[in-house]
Symmetry: C3
Subunit: 369 residues, 3 copies
């Protein structure tokens, strides 16, 4: 488009309505209804070469007044809403594009290359707690370096992850805010000179194979927090691809000094397979179903705690319309954990915050535009 008129904005969004039940809790059990993700966004091209992306989330937002407020029970999680992404991309030089704002730190295959509405399973893998989710920063990147299939991202961010429950969100990393007055007109005026660095290098060889290697590092707190707080390092390698309806996906991640705690180390790996029977021409148009299975193992060690949590997820995805698969979809997952006992003892804010600790049935309805 060479015109001066802007294109867009395009509005996009989706909703995921869930039902879930655990088994073997030795307490009350039953289906509980809720919403997983509700998202709404605007994207477009402001002028040629400059594009914007804005996404708002109401995650778990199945209630106007968070349930815990209504019932006065702090143990029940409420909704989590906020600005998920807000960035501007300058693509004057396609091989060295500049992105500024709040967006994904380039660590992890599933975290950075899958949207919440096209995941193979209802929940992301536990792998995500070893990455840095999103943060505010500046990133250079190219999605396809001179048509070779090679892609890269290299970014500098606020010195912690802005979203919770992962390796980089902690009071043990150095504050991103420096000395003196800290806001004029709501804008922070000074940084600490301490940053989170993240980068990814990948190669996409058509639909059959996509591999990436990524990592991130955050500086430790110098003046506050634990005396033993250390810089956090995270490494990740992942691959995915498919052919004729078969899909595969695998990742391995390792973190040293999880959340800046010296001696706290975590590793995770998973392998996932899916077979779309309709794409294999085994089922008619009105029955676009896809069995899927994932095995994942998460390990965390700190002091006396040294445990592994396994999650086997068996799933079926049903796409209402094969020509627009993510516009309307139903997903059914059954998760079988092993080694959950040690993790139940340390509670839901453990490093494996995204893992299931009981046999669990989950059902999810999705609609989007």
């Amino acid at each position: 488009d060479n015109s001066n008129a802007n294109t867009g904005p395009v509005v996009f969004g989706y909703a995921q309505i869930t039902g879930s039940q655990q088994f073997g809790t030795n307490g009350p059990e039953g289906l509980v209804f809720g919403a997983h993700r509700i998202r709404l966004g605007f994207k477009g091209e402001a002028v040629p070469g400059v594009s914007y992306f804005f996404q708002y989330k109401w995650d778990g937002a199945w209630q106007s007044t968070p349930l815990n407020n209504t019932l006065g029970i702090g143990a029940i999680p409420g909704s989590s809403s906020g600005v998920q992404d807000a960035y501007i991309n300058f693509a004057f030089i396609p091989e060295v594009q500049l992105q500024v704002g709040k967006f994904r730190v380039p660590v992890g295959l599933e975290r950075t290359q899958y949207s919440g509405n096209n995941l193979l399973f209802i929940q992301r893998s536990m792998n995500q707690s070893l990455g840095a989710n999103r943060s505010a920063g500046v990133m250079f990147h190219s999605p396809d370096l001179m048509n070779t299939g090679v892609y890269y991202s290299l970014g500098i961010f606020d010195n912690h992850s802005l979203d919770g429950n992962d390796a980089f969100n902690s009071g043990n990393v150095a504050l991103p805010v420096g000395a003196g007055q800290t806001a004029v007109g709501g804008v922070l005026t000074n940084g600490s000179g301490q940053y989170l660095f993240g980068g990814m290098l990948g190669y996409k060889m058509g639909p059959l194979l996509n591999v990436e290697l990524s990592g991130a590092r955050a500086a430790a707190a110098k003046y506050t927090a634990l005396p033993a707080s250390k810089e956090i390092d995270s490494w990740n390698v992942g691959a995915n691809g498919g052919l004729m309806g078969l899909k595969y996906m695998a990742e391995y991640s390792a973190v040293t000094s999880y959340q800046g705690i010296e001696g706290a180390n975590a590793q995770d790996w998973y392998v996932a397979l899916a077979a779309n029977l309709h794409q294999m021409t085994l089922t008619p148009d009105w029955l676009d179903v896809e069995p899927a299975v994932r095995y994942e193992s998460f390990r965390y060690r700190y002091g006396a705690f040294n445990s592994t949590l396994g999650n086997t997820t068996i799933g079926v995805n049903y796409y209402v319309n094969p020509n627009n698969p993510y516009a309307a979809r139903v997903q059914l997952n059954y998760v079988i954990p092993n080694g959950g006992g040690a993790w139940r003892a340390i509670g839901t804010n453990s490093p494996a915050s995204n893992g299931y600790l009981y046999n669990t049935l989950a059902l999810q309805f999705q609609a989007g535009f």
Copy 2:
């Protein structure tokens, strides 16, 4: 539409700006400005047979910083914002449609069949505090069973109403959340097996007559709350209709064990009439006015408290453009209460939370799209 392309999203919304003043308070009096409802939503068809509806509210949101925060005075109510509706509807079988998400519990004529932007009066009747507003759940329904005019809804919901100040929103109903770990990726993983059931059966015989019978039941808390907490039952019958500019509307509701309190019972009834002079061809196009009147009586009994609150509302509605009446409208109401003294004593969180306790003038400007 047989195409695979999705339709929509359609964006919709409206704003209601209000002014209000009480008389006879023996204290400072004057007009106060604010906003009643500000709503924005998206709806559409994701793929044929699957539709979505999303509505966000900023009610009372006439301020960025809630007034009580600014002035540090907790007695002044602030804004109430949140996800009002978020649901997906599957209409593959028109007579047995499946709706999942957060939406209205099918109890009450005005509550379920009137939107906030097409009410006859500025405020809903006090009747609404005897229903269950909205909750998260699953509902089977049909708007018109085989073209007979009969409609029904039958739903199962989280075991309390998610919005405040009604008969079902209480710590005395059983928790909807079961044992064990309660969230993975922000999604609740286990229910309590305790639910709120709601249903409505109705018949619409053209514009002249529409009648409905509806009810809901929620299980009482077993382990917490009042020792005497009981299951809540609510019944409602309503009718409305009209002819040639005349409109009528009436409801009766009764609740036993209001908010799960044994021995707390409430009843409400109202009759409303309106006469659209323009539809009666008594006024020209530029003067689409509609006088309206409603008499309502709300009774609540618990222990020594046994009082009735009456509200007589006299109103005039002015529609700027008869061809698009709810796009721009001005409403003027004057409310005369009787029996308000006993209710002033127990404060604004009483069961009749939607009733006026002083002679009050209210003025509302509405614009929508």
Copy 3:
């Protein structure tokens, strides 16, 4: 448009991503990333003669969970989100239009005639803390009285400014809420009879000259707050204009009884100049740059405190596309304060809340639609 169909809604929005660093703080220093303003709005004509305007803000909303929550450090400011504007305008009589809702109090040239996305500098002048920002109310106005170039606004508002850190936002002004019950259905039912009055009279003589005179007054609290609380008076005079790429802008404001405190007085003045080299035909289309400079002086006196803060801002604005200048823009500002020492001592909530107290570099990326 004489049709009955409504026009719109038009969706509009913009994002401003910032980086900033102070110098000379004697502590950690570095760039800090964030977002200044993220805005999204809907506007349109509901029916002929009736229009609506709605704008939501996520200011400083570069994070889903405010940073201070994440890190548990109260001193770091978080995001500020809310309904920024929500009003309905009735233009049946063009010379006496009626606007109701929440909108800008008509005081101050920059505050009322510049949007956040077309400011000459990254930050508004300190002048804004001597006005009343936005409030809920009713206003009569005309943008151009019978094509003479004269414009006026005359409004009555809730008796304080609803947004923070200015002369009218204080617990020393009379409460806008009266006696008795204060909310029915979320709507305030009674005012105090105490209001904030604001008005502006201006004359726009083509692009060369625009002048305005404006003022506001709020009643003091009678029963609470400081014994010496007084009514607040604010006066403002401003002028701007330009020719062939040269732009100028100047304002003077004075407030007596700042925030209702007897004896607290503040004055502010600034002069700003900019030269758009592209409009002067000195640079080609791909280099639409604009050097700009502003000198501002803010003075506040209360008791023993009697100090002046000066801010000299040197800036360059780069517009990516001259035909759509505010769709994509980069701004670079360097601010040199003088007299900052006294203000550092009294902290960031001082009257000059929008002033810089250290030498500061600020960089801002903007994209809009």
